[in-house]
Symmetry: C2
Subunit: 294 residues, 2 copies
Amino acid sequence: MSDVGFIGLGVMGKPMAANLIQGGHTLYLHSRSGVPEALTAAGGIACASPREVAERAEAVITMLPDTPDVERVLFGSPGVAEGLTAGKLVVDMSSISPTATRAFAERIERLDCEYVDAPVSGGAIGARDGSLTIMVGAREAAFARAGPLLALMGKNITHLGEHGAGQTCKVANQIIVALAIEAVAEALVFVSKAGVDPAKVRQALLGGFASSRILEVHGERMLRRSFEPGFRIELHQKDLALALASARELGVALPGTALAQELFNACRARGGASWDHSALVRALEILGDHSLGK
Amino acid sequence: MSDVGFIGLGVMGKPMAANLIQGGHTLYLHSRSGVPEALTAAGGIACASPREVAERAEAVITMLPDTPDVERVLFGSPGVAEGLTAGKLVVDMSSISPTATRAFAERIERLDCEYVDAPVSGGAIGARDGSLTIMVGAREAAFARAGPLLALMGKNITHLGEHGAGQTCKVANQIIVALAIEAVAEALVFVSKAGVDPAKVRQALLGGFASSRILEVHGERMLRRSFEPGFRIELHQKDLALALASARELGVALPGTALAQELFNACRARGGASWDHSALVRALEILGDHSLGK
């Protein structure tokens, strides 16, 4: 497979597409906000629509903000489905609804094409370095076919099950990250208000059972008051909304996730939709009338 | 300093005292439930009371379940305070109230002795291997004096500030651990109910931002349904009660901690006071009428 389509060239999509070009593939590119110069300069070919991408490429990758965006790009007009012919492969790497994903997969398979959901974790740095964690839902054959492409973008690639399983795993990832941020935020605000240096506490805890990537990375952001994204609160809220909606459908209670979502709401009340998600600490600072900042 | 007292020889205290004997110290030992044979066989000297320990040793270490136990051992009769003479050192390694700790330190200092709070993290395995994380609150001179003893029991030893700062840091540790357990529990119950294998999800997430010691260790316990302590829910509830009481005194809101405490209550409602704290997952399983177990 050398002709690959890529639709959605934002903070994540652009470096991911660059790694596919670097890996020797011919890339057919489309993005609502235009194709970045850097990608065409590297040999990528700009296409006028998702349909054109699907017509020219053998595999089409999408990397879009939310479920409605994926639906529009795949099934709108001029969309991917209009350009597909039998035997092609669609790989959605966006983080979207597991339920919608199963429906999209069914519609793509009715065109005698294959569908893979492969959302990622690891952020812009992971995208640039080709070190993303990739969570895959797909039939075995489709997973095998997508494998070499995914290997150019990520390192920790896991096949979790059938259609939607990748998205379900990504939702779990976002639940854990949100609650881990809240855990670190509660702990640091608590010790600071008790008169103990939160930077020393973070350092002491990094060696023990409280240690996590979030304590390391997001704990440091909280202490530096560095709330440039990173990962925007509004995007994390979209993911937690997926978690809570799916939980309602499935009949499972996620009380901690619901609480984290409400604390993000409090951040948005202060204009924080675009703050990094580590700024959840600000909601606790407001509640306790106390800031970690000097 | 070669004459060291050790009071409280339970799951944690016994291996910690053994490491001090191993390190060349003469140990004066007392425990309400008797001194273990293994320690006297190794050369430790059993004493009839906390007072006798304080009379014979230069430094007295306490490792007890809760604040009232420490108060009784230090200030009851025949207690440590009755046996102390000027210049001796008291090191409390229990996990107890930061506020009570400051009061205890003041009373010990009035006897011209020094006080160190040095609670630990790392469990029975860390105690055995001498690899505990130790969080210290003390004056500089007392910290320097206790240092060589602590180094025989732990590896990651941090001086966080004045009296009580070690206990405050330990409370922060317990907040993070409780919320991390809840995070992993919500994520695994969610994916399991969605029909995705939670063991595969844990594996996939260990590489990314959701990774933590809790996902690794406690996530595995949840999947194996191995709820032998470990660390008992009733002990974690004691620590969260300290967190919530201190938060009330200080004026800081810990909504996630309060929620975790309530989920532990739900476990106790099913007889789970002595389950390992990873069994918090059972509260979510009950709420969702679904078990991770096969």
